[in-house]
Structure formats: C-alpha cells, structure tokens
Amino acid sequence: MGRRAANNLALAVLWIAAGTTVVILFSIIGYVVINGIQSLSWGFITTWPQGVNAEGGIAPIIVNTLYVTGLAMLFTTPIAVLAAVYLTEYAVQGKMVDTIRFAADSLASVPSIVMGLFGFALFVEALGWGFSMLAGAAALTFLMLPIVMRATEEAIRSVPRYIRWGSYGMGATKWQTVSRAVLPAAAPRIITGIILAMGRAAGETAVVLYTVTQAIDLAKTPMQSGRVMPVHLYLLAMEGINLPAAYGTALVLMILILGLNMIARWISKRYRKV
C-alpha cells in the first residue's frame, strides 16, 4: 500500500471515529427526546405522583432535584472560590499547595458510590442529620468542590497581570485588588464552572441514593428526605414499571442538564473577548 493510500485510509478511520462519537450522542439524545416527548405534558411536570406505579406527574421530584442541587451550590461556591483565590493569589508554591492540589484531584476521582457511603457514615449517621436534603447537599459539595475550584483557578489565572498592577498602583491592598479587580474580571468563567458543576450534581444518583434516599413527597425543610429525578429514573427503570414515566423523567432531567450546559457555554462564549 502506497503512502498516499495509507494516508487516506487513516484519515477515513479518524473521520469515522469522530463521526461515531457524534452519532452516539445524537442517538442517545434523540432516543430520549422521541420517547419522552409523549409523556411530557403540563400535567406531568406540575402534578404529584400517585400510587405504587408512580402514575401522574413528577412535580415534587423536579423541585427536590433543584432544591438539593441549589443547596449544594450554596455550600460549594464560597468555599471553592476562596480556595482558588488562596491557591492563585496568596499561596507560596510548596508542599502545602501540592498537598491541596493532590487532595482536590483525589476528591474529583472518588467513585460516586464511595462518596455516597461517606455521606451516609458522616452526615446521615455520625452527625445525626438522617436521610435528608442537607446530608445529600453536603455530600454533593465534596463532589462539586474540585470542579468549581479548578474552573475558578483557571479563570483567575486568565486575568491579565496589568489589571492587578493598576490596582496595586492605586494603593489598593491585596484583598481590595482581589475582590474589586480580579474576581469581577474572572466572574463569567467562574459562573460557567459553577453551572457545569451544578449539572454534574443534578444528574448524580449514587451520591444521593443513601444520603437523601427516596421519599416521594416534596421536601419542605432541609432535614427531610426527598426523591430526586435520577433516583426516580433509576427506580422506575430497574423495576420496569411505568416506562412512560421513566422516559418522561429522563427527558426532563436531560433538558435540565443540557440546558445548564448550554447556559454555561453561552456565558463563556459571550465573555470570551473580554
């Protein structure tokens, strides 16, 4: 085989690899949309589920998902952003920074079921919070932390040096420089990171399965249990009951998560030029 022919063959294979990836994505999304759209109605997203087969809607399950994700975001954001500020602006490179980075990378790679068991042992049992939104959100915080930390670090590093010099030149202290010059300039990319992390948390099953568990009602306080969409989808799919509701739940979950991804993408594109 000549080198031209080998080249063409290899390029064709690479086109096929990339094409396969795109086709897989569209078949999964397409399949969920086509089957889910039949179950999706105003009633499905606004009414309560009823009976053992979870007929009816999934309103409390949608609200619970937003609830636990929002709570986890409230816990994560200040810690992760300030942690990244420390790593980028304050820390002197050395053993301690290495340790913190290694810990963040480790947190990012903890299997989700291990995070779930950890949340169960610490928050549900040792701290006595019981199966609750609070316990689930606390466990999800450790899942989101490394993602938001990494995004914020990259955002802060991309802020040009001269913005800092201008601030220091006017006599600002370090905190004034960070809070009034650096963080506002980095804000769009930080927000992008937070939204992407929320997407991860909203789709997470194994972490919440044994921290929030599956009470089907609306959680009114953070100390109550409540079923979230991924857990609902898991239970319906495994029990093979009420497949239409499973398709509908999968579609609503995908709309939420892909919607969050789109918003993040839009923000980062809009502010890229700045």
Partner: protein, 299 residues
C-alpha cells in the same frame, strides 16, 4: 518573589488594622483551600472506620481473596466482584480509548474550524449526560439487541463494555486533545516540510510527542470506568459469581455496594464499607500514578 516584597511594603505603608484584616482574610482563604484536604481525610476516616471490623469479623484474607460472596450465609469473599470490576474496566478501555484518541486526533489535526465547532461540543455534551441516563439507554435499547444476537438475557460484561466505553470517551478525548494541541507547531511543520503525509506526521511525530498526556488521559478514563456505578449496575446483571462469559450476568464492586446498601446490616454492611475503602484507595493510587507519569514526562 513579589509576594514577600509586597507584604514587606505593606507593613510600612498600611495601618495596623488593615494589616490585621488582610492577615485574617488570608487565613480564611487558606482554611477554604484546606477543605479539600479535610474532605479526603474525612472520607478516609469515616469509610475506614466503618470498614475496620472487616479485619476481625471477616478476616482480610477471606475478604479480599475469598472466592464466594453469599450474603445470606454471611460469606463475604469479594474476589468475584474484583474480577468483575477488572473485566468491565479493561473491556471499556479497549473500546473507548481508540475511539477517544481517534476523536482527539481528528479534532486537533484534521477537522476544519467548522467541523470542530460541531464535534467538540458533542464530545463535551456526552460528558454531561448523567450516568443513570446511560444506564437507562443501556437497558431499553442496547440490552434487547445484545440479547438477540447472544441468545442470553442481554445483561453482562459486553453490554457494560459498550455503555462504559462510550462514557469514558469525553474524559480521554478532552485530555488527549489538550496534549496534542500543546505539541509545538514547529514540530508539525518540520515533519510536513520533510514530505511526510498527515498520517505519517500524526503517527510518527505527534502521537509520540503527546504520549505522556494520552497515558494520563487513559489512566483517568480507567478511574472513571472502575468507579462508575449506576450505568454499570443497570446493565451488568449483578450475579455475585465469577462470570461464565461476556454475555452472562456478573458483578462489580461499585454495583454490589449500591444494590446491597439498601438492606445490608451488621457484617454485611461492614463488608460494603470495606469494598468502598478499596475503591477509594485505588482511585487515589490512580491520581498518584497520573502525577508520577506527568513528572516522568517533565524530566
């Protein structure tokens, strides 16, 4: 350098109260960063604490090397589960890595900006799909197809390989693409100038140059595969025995924990925490391996 100079200047230029406030804030930020270390320590402590009785109640040999898992008779040997996890992970890597590296090479070397602007978001969105949706897709679409041509139930390693192979593509592709892009353009140009074709440049120059990054990406993909819980649980069949073939139901560590945790108590629950501890230590070892490989490449 400038950090110390700046703080030295500040001591002269700012008031005592401002300095105190700045120091307090710096301490607060350090504590926030330390939460990451605290998190790892807490996972280690709490999972380890609940797993500890494994030594006395099961015995480490009977646990890690035991060939029988039979919870109803209080026999907790996890060797079949470990074998299951290894089989599922290696198969997923074998399917997912070529697809992911191929996609990465395509994105970095071949695609026009227009094509790139379609393929790249697609790869990123693939990472956004929740694992429970992958599992659901596996049950309702893939499982019947596999059952059809294998003559079995469709639950088993093969179905898990395909689903998991897809799931690790975004992880490996994104990091491999970064590695390829960080190869200096001068190296590409030198290769083309010598008359090499695109494929020769990719195969003989770029892939070797980006080797370290691609190995790192594959290790992280492996971590993703071995730790994946829900998608695997939904398609792998979960029979806690040594697998008879790639089309028969088999267990994995993660899926067994997730399935049993709902009702397990006593020693059974201790065994589940023991499995979680093993997974946790393995995932940390992979992170350490990535650092080690990167450092090796840096030298």
């Amino acid at each position: 350098m400038s950090d110390t100079q700046q703080s030295a200047n500040k001591m002269r230029l700012v008031s005592r109260s401002t300095l105190a406030k700045e120091t307090a804030l710096a301490t607060l930020f350090f504590l926030c960063a330390f939460v990451a270390v605290l998190g790892v320590a807490l996972i280690f402590l709490f999972v380890g604490w609940r797993a500890w009785p494994v030594f006395s109640e099961v015995g480490i040999g009977n646990f890690a090397l035991g060939r029988v898992w039979d919870a109803s008779n209080e026999v907790y040997g996890i060797l079949p589960l470990i074998v299951g996890s290894v089989i599922v992970t290696l198969g997923a890597l074998a399917l997912g890595t070529p697809l992911a590296v191929g996609t990465a090479v395509f994105l970095s070397e071949i695609a026009s900006p227009r094509v790139r602007s379609v393929v790249r978001p697609a790869v990123e969105l693939l990472a956004g799909i929740p694992s429970v949706v992958y599992g659901f897709f596996g049950i309702v679409v893939l499982r019947p197809i596999v059952a059809e041509f294998s003559g079995g139930t469709g639950f088993g390693a093969f179905t898990a390989w395909v689903i998991l192979g897809i799931m690790i593509v975004p992880t490996i592709a994104a990091l491999s693409e970064d590695a390829l892009r960080s190869v200096p353009d001068g190296i590409r140009e030198a290769s083309y100038a010598m008359g090499a074709t695109t494929w020769q440049t990719i195969y003989k120059v770029l892939l070797p140059a980006a080797k370290i990054g691609i190995i790192d990406a594959t290790i992280l993909g492996m971590g993703r595969a071995i730790g994946e819980t829900m998608a695997v649980l939904m398609v792998v069949g979960n029979a806690p025995v040594f697998p008879e073939g790639i089309f028969s139901p088999m267990p994995t560590l993660t899926a067994q924990i997730a399935l049993n945790m709902g009702y397990a108590s006593g020693t059974h629950r201790v065994a589940l925490f023991g499995m979680a501890a093993i997974l946790f230590m393995f995932s940390m070892a992979l992170v350490a391996a990535v650092r080690w490989v990167s450092r090796l490449g840096g030298e």
